[in-house]
Symmetry: C2
Subunit: 364 residues, 2 copies
DNA sequence: CGCATTACCTAATACGCATTACCAACGGCG
DNA sequence: CGCCGTTGGTAATGCGTATTAGGTAATGCG
């Protein structure tokens, strides 16, 4: 047998002697008078009793040592060793804390945080801004799984994660990617319900004002709107949908007056980021000198924009953003656990509001 | 030389043969006909030219191989090898995403996130609620350093972290703990400036309305207020400070009228979480039938509460929350890097506003 | 032509943790 | 007393990457 040449040890440069670094399992082991392996075994004791058996006394010594040193496992090392971290990632493609405080992501995050905390997970915030490269998304692999939110989550990278079996949940409907789990709100049912409510109040001619956008959130609402008309036995021709690129300039007092003259008694607006449709609609109605629950009824398929928060509560529904965030976490944590749960669409809550009333009796 | 007994190799169980996992550096190396080390060197080529030299041809072969395999480095391994996680903790003692959207933490977090992202750090969110145990704070050690915010950060635990040399920064003045780094806003100077502004406008009798709280943020403002009076050569007796437990019930229209009758021409309110002082003050002035910049001037030592956002912009100053968050991250990242930078107080920006005008000329 | 450089690479680590093969001590049993 | 099953623990890995001490041609120099 040939004697291997003696080489100096390469590898790591010695750590700067200054600050003492976080304690390692090895130090816990030393303090407890056991081996590193034992520390690991104790700290990861499976409750199902499987695995190595450690005497109660040793167990306590190790636990005490760990506590007294303030030991916390290194997430990177754990991940590398193919273990769990109790970390969930949240990746948003804008700033996670948008400068616009009223940004609609915010309520999601509230729900996400609460549910994550309840399940013993901490959250890691990843932002697109820092990376930029093709592996910007790959940082999330440090966590046990990751939640994505935002319109512009790149397909390719996401697909890659999914293909690798990394637990991923997209917040917002996203069906085009095979195998991608997502949670979304049931805009269709909620919109249908709002229309049904108006129909019950006696409205026979109802018009939807929507923006010129093909996001699922918009088409779903229109779908529900038309379903609602249909369910009430009302006609849902193309006249019943006002699709406009710029609601504020297109939905004028003039236009509203015309439609009312034609017999329209209720208007429904979709909710968008800007709230332009609703804003245009309420403005036009007021401009036309019509009183809101009296002359004409209004409904909003969503929540009012913050700048109109002071106005009368619109009839419509609330998107359960908080609940959506929580649902996303549940789904994600199921994936992490290897289960295959699937979270159905989350229902929106109907909001009676003050802007819809009985249809006016036609003047003789 | 004794022949070591042959042992079967322990360690990892074989990976499930199903999906082929993402490529490793080793596979890139094989494809390019080089060693793994070379791949690493090429992929992490420092632009300062330091380090190993690799021929251009080899470099290209490696890059091509990496590209063709779609190689992406494993963040866990990368961080493990670098002995750094590039994670900064954020520990707040309420929910990090407060249910109250307008919560004052929020702007801090915006700054924190931006600065962290700019420096290549990701954020880990910890909440007091999640852990619960006495060693809940221990969990933050998984990050490279941690930012604390909130009034009720427990002294003992914090002390422990500091003593262990764990990088910690407290958001908000906190001098009682030796060695604790913190960043804070310069309320004293800002308040002084506001008073000086009023004095310049001719006001001679100015009264501060504050709540009954001894938080640094409150006492600093009072300090600055008194400094300001002093600097303008005005008397600052105890009459000039109205300290009330419940401003809304104590600062009435009646009270304001009295004070004005005594010669007071300007009021200053401190900013608090609730904004009660400012709210009470504006309400009382209106109730007394006084016009605001005309009969009496008002100033707010901070930003107006959101529910009054619609009103006239108050004269006062803005707490640079965003900048404070960024400063905290800078300070923290310096600590993580082993440097000893210290961040001075951050200045608040004076806001001219519309609620302060020239002092009314006394009626003859 | 012989020796010192230089240019390029590779072998051999270390990082911190989870896991598994194996080992020692002990007790029961025939 | 020798064999065997248990109990309690440890040594030796592997995970994927970064780093560094060498090693080996090729090149420069006198």
């Amino acid at each position: 047998m040939e004697q291997p040449r003696k080489r100096a040890k390469p590898g790591r440069a010695p750590a700067p002697a200054g600050r003492k670094s976080r304690p390692r399992q090895a130090e816990v082991a030393r303090l407890a008078g056991v081996s590193q392996a034992t520390v690991s075994l104790v700290l990861n004791a499976r409750r199902d009793g499987k695995g190595a058996t450690i005497s109660e006394e040793t167990r306590q010594r190790v636990l005490d040592a760990a506590r007294s040193l303030g030991y916390v496992p290194d997430p990177a090392a754990r991940r590398l060793a193919a273990a769990r971290n109790n970390l969930l990632g949240v990746f948003s493609f804008t700033s996670t804390f948008p400068t616009d405080v009223q940004h609609s992501y915010y309520p999601f995050l509230v729900g996400v945080e609460q549910e994550a905390a309840a399940r013993g997970y901490d959250l890691v915030l990843f932002t697109a801004s820092s990376g930029g490269g093709p592996d910007a998304l790959s940082r999330v692999r440090l966590a046990d799984g990751c939640l994505f939110l935002g319109r512009h989550v790149p397909r390719a990278e996401l697909k890659r994660l999914v293909a690798d079996g990394f637990p991923v949940v997209h917040l917002g409907r996203r069906e085009e990617l095979e195998g991608l789990a997502w949670v979304g709100a049931d805009y269709v049912s909620a919109s249908r319900e709002v229309v049904a409510h108006l129909a019950d109040l006696g409205h026979r001619r109802i018009v939807l004002v929507r923006e010129d956008d093909d996001a699922p959130a918009s088409t779903d609402r229109q779908q529900g709107f038309l379903d609602g008309l249909d369910g009430a036995g009302l006609a849902g021709g193309p006249d019943s949908v006002l699709r406009c690129a710029d609601p504020v300039s297109e939905v004028t007092a003039e236009r509203v007056r015309e439609l009312v003259a034609e017999g329209v008694t209720a208007f429904v607006a979709e909710e968008t980021d800007t709230g332009a449709a609703w804003q245009a609609l309420t403005g036009a109605v007021a401009g036309a000198g019509l009183s809101c629950p009296g002359d004409v009824s209004l409904a909003l398929l969503g929540s009012p924009p913050p700048e109109l928060a002071a106005g009368p509560v619109p009839t419509g529904f609330d998107v359960p953003r908080h609940e959506l965030g929580a649902a996303a976490v549940r789904l994600l944590s199921a994936q992490v656990a290897g289960e295959e749960a699937d979270e159905p669409l989350v229902a929106c809550e109907f909001r009676a509001g003050l802007t819809a009333g009985p249809a006016p009796v036609p003047e003789p």
